[in-house]
Amino acid sequence: MKRYAYFPGCSAETVSASYHLSAVEAGTRLGVEFEEIEDWNCCGATPYTNIDELLAHALCARNLAIAEREHLDVVAPCSACFKNLYHTNACLRAEPDLADHMNYALEADALRFDGTIAVRHLIHVFVEDVGLEAVRRKVTHPLTGVRVAPYYGCQLVRPDRHDGYDAAAPRYFEDLLAATGATPVDYPYRLRCCGASLMIANRPAALAMVRDLLRSAVQAQADVIATTCPLCQLNLEAYQGDVNREFGTEYRVPVLYFTQLMGLAMGIGRKKLGIGRELIPPTKVLECVARKAAAAEAPKTAEVSHP
């Protein structure tokens, strides 16, 4: 059983509870244990850096220091949390003066940063640590014929990660989806930003950015968009109505977390994966899973041959 210090992020408690549920379920099925970081705090998102860099680092340093006590690598399911925690970890390791400054602050909470652990994104844990072969072996309800747009988003692949991994042309999301039996579509906008907090700060800009992503997915004939980040999920799904009103379009593309697709393919029940909380039901995906389940339950009338 691989163990990690799990950083749910603020959205996991409500707006993206289904991501949290499905991540833990999929992890359990694959022999990964996520131990929630005790008394974790917000990563600061982007607004903290808008106000003060040191404050932004302090928020992340506290979470890292708590995880360090347990000697566990940190896993974040949210791309923004991942980017922030990863960035602070890298900056504090590279600059002893900055680390000293943070440690002076952390002392007030009886904590200390020593830079002994790594920060990972949830999808990297599944792809790199668990491995695609292990995922493939657990698939009981392959998502055959379901066309999925692998939406990496931006912060998941951004330049602060300098550990020899391809940020410009990644393929691991496509590979992971293929391991679930789904068909990853060629999604040209897969690395484009969803607008993130511009949905608050500059609504017209964010809606145009979401429109571009939806259009690209529809052109690629995707049945569903798979995301790795709660903010991407919210922007892409919940604002489709606004996009349609603004631009006269008629998009209705379901947006699921990649862990929900993994969970369905591994035969985990819908409810356990938080499915049912969507604003746009992922009909095509659920039909496929239902077909597989019915086929498995039907009395075997003919032997299926496996060449």
Binding site: V15, N41, P47, N50, L55, A108, D109, R192, A196, A201
Partner: protein, 191 residues
Amino acid sequence: MPAATYHTLSFAEEISNEMYATGTRGLNCCIQCATCSAACPAVAFMDHTPRRLIGMINAGLRDDVLNSNTFWTCASCYSCSEHCPKGIRPSELMYALKRYSIWKNRYRADLVGPEFSRLFVKTIMRTGKSYEPGYAPAFIFEGGLRGMLREMRFGMKLLAKGRIPLLPSRIMRVESFRRMLSRIVPLDGIA
């Protein structure tokens, strides 16, 4: 050359200093190739492209830069930083300009970003966690009562699916968390 001249920082140097901690290359090595502008997904909504803004900073056009909406239109996607051939991180520049404009209290009155950032930071200072409904005042600021109603309708959809928190959540050790932050920003009663 006079033996001793008092050197006042130029605007470009001031801004470069704000970016010092981020480890980016200086703005003075910009070759105006516009890769940053081409890589930006929000560029259509900026009054000056990122390339142009860097040129304006290097030319010392302080007022024009501070009157621009460009940096508050940045979504922090880091696409520009990923692609800059000179190793400048324009996304860090945008953060630096946001901080600079807040410190100097010099930003356009029609921008939501500064107020939203303040609200967000205050919320975390108070509870240690983010709370979406707490940012509602930013919407009133943006769209007046109509904006607020629009957001409430939107909120109800999510509420029906159990995706909106009714009460703010808070961390357990809020007191020591605040003491920690007050060692960074030495203010009493910051929350």
